[in-house]
């Protein structure tokens, strides 16, 4: 046998030996298992499936050692690949399920937080309103206390009523304020302006029954208007105060005596608290 023939023989044998290489299925099975085993979700969520994949791969490896690249080895490797993929897929599924649950939890928490924030805002707004209300009421009480020192003050269902004697404010039959009235009225204006900013005022003029009713009516209107104008000039907002004349219609005392008539000649200021 010549060397030449040997080389030809070797050339025939070597590729055959090389052909006895690892089957593609087994390579794939190894790679798949490696990937699954390296995946944290798979390791954590599907350890049983991963173990099953490992056993399938071991079986394929053993089959390869015993039988070489046989159809059965390839089948076993194929099965091992599918088992590794199964473990991976189930691990990912568990991740998705957890993500969905987290998202729901998170949304619920968000909604709760929003609700709590709204409640807190409402509570704080309510507290602020109550504080303002309490402050206004305190100011109103102080103003009435101040008024009580300079005029007769009484409480009625329609509000707090401040009565000013007509003789102090006006000369008989006149509707111009007396100079002596201004200091007292200035105090009234200050007290009204300092009181509850939500309150409204009505200035009501009254007369006794002497003289003609129409004239008394006109006089009471003019006097009420004069007082209102003075108060507006001295700090009471014009849109908070109105004037009206009631003439001799509502006497507080008998018109038969001089004292009674003096009491009936009066200006009343009604302080109406803000409607709640």
């Amino acid at each position: 046998m010549s060397h030449h023939r040997l080389i030809v023989l070797a050339a025939l044998i070597v590729p055959t030996a090389c052909a006895h290489r690892i089957p593609e299925e087994l390579r794939e099975a190894r790679a798949s298992y490696k990937q699954a085993a390296a995946d944290p979700a798979t390791r954590k969520e599907t350890p049983a499936e991963l173990d099953e994949a490992r056993r399938s791969l071991t079986r394929a490896e053993r089959s390869y050692v015993v039988e070489g690249d046989s159809p059965k080895t390839r089948d076993r490797a194929y099965i091992a690949t599918r088992k590794a993929e199964l473990a991976l897929v189930m691990g990912r599924t568990a991740d998705h399920v957890e993500a969905a649950r987290n998202a729901e939890l998170w949304q619920a928490r968000e909604a709760l937080a929003a609700e709590q924030a709204e409640n807190a805002a409402n509570a704080s707004q309510l507290a602020t309103e109550q504080e303002l209300r309490a402050e206004a009421e305190q100011r109103a009480a102080l103003a009435i206390t101040a008024l009580a020192e300079i005029a007769a003050v009484r409480s009625e269902p329609r509000g707090t009523v401040v009565t000013l004697s007509g003789s102090v404010l006006f000369a008989s039959g006149k509707s111009e304020l007396l100079p002596s009235a201004t200091s007292r009225l200035t105090q009234v204006a200050e007290a009204l302006a300092a009181g509850d900013p939500g309150a409204h005022f009505i200035v009501e003029g009254y007369t006794d029954s002497k003289g003609r009713a129409e004239l008394n009516q006109q006089l009471s209107e003019a006097r009420a208007q004069a007082v209102r104008d003075f108060l507006v000039e001295h700090g009471v907002a014009a849109d908070r105060i109105e004037a009206r004349g009631l003439g001799e219609t509502q006497p507080v005392a008998s018109n038969t005596t001089a004292e009674g008539r003096a009491n009936n000649r009066r200006v009343e200021i009604v302080i109406q608290p803000p409607s709640p």
Partner: protein, 113 residues
């Protein structure tokens, strides 16, 4: 004569079908394939391929049984089972992913933990 021949062929064929041995493994694989189909694996792109493979392997396993290659048939049934199980898992994954996407409002990433 001709009719007798055809009846004979038919009887043989029917008998062959009826008695085609189905191993327990193959029966289990067929059940899994049916489950995967019922879950709609053919409608889920990721799962459809695995389902097709499983069906193919069931047919192959049957052919191997008929040819009395029982060892290989058993492995083929196992292959069918592993593909069917994968198809089912892929359908479940698809559904879980969609549910997770729906649960997460767009633009808002849920905290990882």
């Amino acid at each position: 004569m001709r009719a007798t021949f055809f009846s004979l062929v038919f009887v043989m064929f029917a008998a062959g079908c009826a008695t085609a041995p189905e191993s327990q493994e193959l029966a289990a694989s067929i059940a899994s394939v049916n489950t995967a189909e019922k879950l709609g694996a053919s409608q889920v792109p990721e799962a459809a391929q695995a389902l097709e493979s499983a069906k193919h392997e069931v047919a192959w396993a049957r052919a191997l049984i008929v040819n009395r290659k029982h060892g290989r048939a058993q492995l083929m049934a196992e292959r069918a089972e592993s593909d069917a199980a994968l198809a089912i898992a892929l359908v479940r994954e698809h559904e879980a992913r969609r549910a997770a996407k729906q649960a997460t409002p767009p633009g808002a990433a849920a905290p990882t933990h």
